[in-house]
Amino acid sequence: MFTGFDFDVIERSLPYLFREGMTFTLTLTALAMSGGIVFGTLLAMMRLSSYRLLNVPAAAYVNLMRSVPLVLVIFWFYFLVPYIGAWAIGAKEPIQVGAFWSSVITFTLFEAAYYAEIMRAGIQSVPRGQVSAGQALGLNYWQHMGYIVLPQAFRNMLPVLLTQTIILFQDTSLVYVLSITDFLGAAAKIAQRDGRLVEMYMFVAVVYFIISFSLSLLVKQLQQRLAIIR
């Protein structure tokens, strides 16, 4: 079945694929995940606030981000952020953000909208009485959020948060539109240079599968370790 294929191309290009490509993919995933969860949690808290000044902008942001295709957001930010940045600091020339930071910012802001919805559900899953108990002890808003509500919300939502992160990990491949060399981009380059499209794309699929699948196994384990005894 595989006669005529050349799988050696994979072995030859492994250092390039992983050192250049995978490093970028994982870095972007990790940065966008941390930034996205932090910003998303803040968005969720804003959205659940009773102040219209907080909940309306947060809801608008989340709904806007979730109704625009990611590729479009990547483009928009890549071309717009230099000008917005220049306008914000009053510079004449567009500031140089670079493809890397542009993609980090884009993915963080985009994923934050999804993480926000997850954390909103998480915060709402914590019984109302827990909040009352925290308040009755004299904890202020940030304290009862930080010590009581968010730790429980986070634990309850851990599987969903990590599932979203796996999606993020796969979505990072879209940075090819900025001609950044991520794992898929690196493989595509080799594939075209050596004319080994089928081999390389098969290999890429296998690697994505292994990583995504092990992550979901990790989710299960973490979930058991962090589960709240009820």
């Binding site: 019984p127 009485g129 827990q130 009352s132 108990a133 925290g134 308040q135 009755a136 002890l137 004299g138 904890l139 202020n140 304290q143 010590y147 009581i148 730790p151 429980q152 634990r155 709240i228 005894i229 009820r230």
Partner: protein
Amino acid sequence: MIEFRNVSKWYGAFQVLKDCTTKVEKGEVIVVCGPSGSGKSTLIKCVNGLEPFQQGEVIVNDQSVGAKETDLPRLRSRIGMVFQHFELFPHMSVTDNLNLAQVKVLGRSKEEATAKSLALLTRVGMESHAHKYPGQLSGGQQQRVAIARGLAMDPIAMLFDEPTSALDPEMINEVLDVMVGLAHDGMTMMCVSHEMGFARKVANRVIFMDRGEIVEDAPTEDFFGKPRSERAQQFLSKILHH
């Protein structure tokens, strides 16, 4: 120490509290009873501002609870509260449940807080469970921990919101025993409860509520001996029947 002055509260068009006026002196034990939906829980939640109200005033230690300038978290930290469903923090050990507010609100050191927590856990007979998580305890045990958690803040008064209603019958007494102990030690207490035995034993006064009104506010002997209102008589005959 705690004073209600003409407190009224509405949920939309529905009035839950109607012009409630009463007073709790230092060291007094008050039991609030009445049919469900009569506003008992709402009334005691006004004391620490967990339930906002639209009219009237609640004065705790010379501070008006509803006033803008009142530091509500600070006021709340001085009033212990025990809930029907315990509301221990499930992701923390028993000791950490007691330590949290001591450290974060009162600014005690961790050692100081832990020493206090262990002393209080001993008082409620839970010292051997200090390292456990709430989910590993029975309802009665959880409620005793919850009482200790309130006491850890050195409160000037304790509020109890149906502390035994969610418990299996065989666990009610272990919680009531702790409450009786507290009452004998002179703690100011306001308890929403249907435990009439408890009320008879330690309450100075009984407040009977119906449809958002304080119908009867009488010394314990008078309330059980000769309730003035017909509604209180009916209520008592229903729950003391067996």
